[in-house]
Amino acid sequence: MALLAYALRRVGQAVPVALLVTVLIFLLIKLLPGDPAAAILGERASDSAVKVLHRQWGLDRPLPVQYAVYLRNLFTGDLGQSFRYRTPVTDLLPRRSTVTFFLVVYSTLLSVVIAIPLAVVAASHPDRWPDHLVRGLITLPLASPSFWIGILLLILFALRLGWFPASGYGEGLGGHLRHLFLPALTLAQPLLAILTRNLRSALIDVQRTTYVDFARAKGLARRVVLVHHILRAALLPIVTLIGVRLSYPIGGAVVVETVFALPGLGSWMVESILARDYMVVQTLTLVFALGAMLVTLVTDLVYPLLDPRVRLG
């Protein structure tokens, strides 16, 4: 019962923020220098075309009315038109978001799978050379632009060694996993670094607790203590951390999809910016924002289920 009340309250907090996010993103179009209709249609647009767009978008009406129209369109599933493709945004959205969704999930899994052994190695030898090596390794991606790391991986593993394809999304699950491996690895870098760092210090802290001493004193095997006692306790806070930091890979997808020419939301956003397809840019910004908010919400809702110590007041 307490859980349900907590869930309702948490959702109740998210809704007004989501509404305000739509206000923010609605206002983006006001940043366009000069007349937005002229900016969208280009310099050679005829006056009548500009007028038609004004009426179509209600640009001749007061700002609050324009926002009301925008919001009504969103709720009725009208996410705007792509000027470049001459189709509604909703036509392309499902295919494109599948790619980005797959990529973000894949990279999150990769960062967890790589971070655990790295953190275990580092925490088993604190302040010795394996620890220094791991900490050095995870500092490099934090200091480098992700698109550059992607290009290095592309040159080495796709062009030189030929182990992975250089671009595209592939066919079927196996194809996706193979095609998206390098992009997912690139995208995983910042999250991987943060997870490793935090998991390392969590592991060191847990190792010092009395129940771990007790487990060892009972004569349990090192592996058993590590997996069942230490890792289990240290991994819990990591779940929240992933939820909070998932906006890294979501934002990073914009760049990484561009490097690897993946047909996702991010590369679509960049293409639309360069083609001055502003409505698509606006809608995609909203999609990214709501996606990130949803992840945070779900993490907050799931966490009390995972950690029995959490008391919901």
Binding site: P16, V17, A18, L20, V21, V23, L24, I25, L28, I29, L31, L32, P33, T139, L140, L142, A143, S144, P145, S146, F147, W148, I151, L152, L154, I155, L159, S247, Y248, I250, G251, G252, V254, V255, T258, V259, M269, V270, I273, L274, Y278, V281, Q282, T285, F288, A289, A292, M293, T296
Partner: protein, 293 residues
């Protein structure tokens, strides 16, 4: 604009000296000292390099297209026959200038908003903090890219976008500190002396509330410099043919098979700069934490 760089360098050596004078552990000293040395080297290379280089960063030479690294061209040449090393050195001042300027505005604006929200409380606080929530809800990079997309590319717009999005973290940090400081005796004392509201907030509370924001600033510099390069890579930063690192990497993407050095070399400069500021940030953070205790 290049005048921004030298004071930064002086600052670093100044704090390094302060560490030696105070109770510094060798480790903290080394992070600041190594970071400061790396920064001095970078600045020296950025200032001296272009003077001694026999090549021009912009003008094209069609007899030397896509030449691999050699003694004459340590980083090779690009598809217009320009010396990549010369362009990377010229780019240092562009990337450092935008990155360092871009971090100043969010810090100042965010701290001010945080101080006002925390001290005034009530409706103003609620409104300002909802604004912070909203901007925080959108992934940083996505919102920065979207703002530049609508404003149009260019250095000033990049600064505006990063400033307009990045201030929220500073506002949050300073606000929570101000809330803590507000109840302390010196604030009541200041009021009892008849000081005005603003004098107390800006003159007394803010200086005490700002250290956590400075610690965050020290690590934020890296993210902002990388964001600057990212915008350049996406074609939203300064215009070509300016030798901005991100844009150079982007231009080199067409020649990954025939000239890997065009895209990779500027990235090493980025990584060097990133490491420099990570070290400096760690050093500054440790220094301030010791002072705060």
């Amino acid at each position: 604009m290049s005048t921004l760089a030298p004071p930064q360098a002086l600052d670093t050596s100044g704090s390094a000296r302060a560490v030696t004078a105070g109770r510094a552990t060798p480790r903290r000293l080394s992070a600041l000292a190594v970071g400061g040395t790396l920064l001095l080297l970078l600045l020296a290379a950025a200032v001296v390099g272009p003077l001694v280089s026999p090549y021009d960063p912009i003008s094209q030479d069609f007899d030397r297209l896509l030449q691999p690294p050699s003694w004459a061209h340590p980083f090779g040449t690009d598809n217009f026959g320009r010396d990549v090393l010369t362009r990377v050195l010229h780019g240092a001042l562009i990337d450092l200038r935008i990155g360092l300027l871009a971090v100043v505005f969010p810090f100042l604006f965010g701290s001010l908003v945080g101080a006002i929200a925390g001290y005034s409380g009530g409706l103003l606080d609620a409104v300002l903090m909802r604004a912070v929530d909203v901007v925080t809800a959108v992934p940083f990079l996505v919102l920065v890219i979207a703002v530049v997309a609508f404003l149009g590319p260019g250095e000033v717009n990049v600064l505006f976008a990063i400033g307009g999005v990045g201030w929220v973290t500073y506002a949050r940090l300073v606000r929570s500190e101000v809330l803590r400081e507000k109840g302390l005796e010196y604030v009541a004392a200041g009021r009892a002396l008849g000081y005005g509201r603003w004098r107390v907030v800006l003159g007394h509370v803010l200086p005490n509330a700002v250290p956590p924001a400075v610690i965050f600033l020290a690590s934020d510099v890296v993210l902002i410099i990388l964001t600057t390069a990212t915008l350049g890579f996406l074609g939203l930063g300064v215009r070509p043919p300016a030798p901005e690192w991100g844009m150079m990497i982007s231009e080199g993407r067409e020649f990954l098979a025939s000239g890997w050095w065009v895209a990779t070399m500027p990235g090493f400069a980025c990584m060097y700069t990133g490491l420099t500021f990570i070290l400096l940030g760690d050093g500054v953070a440790d220094l301030l934490r010791v002072k705060g205790q």
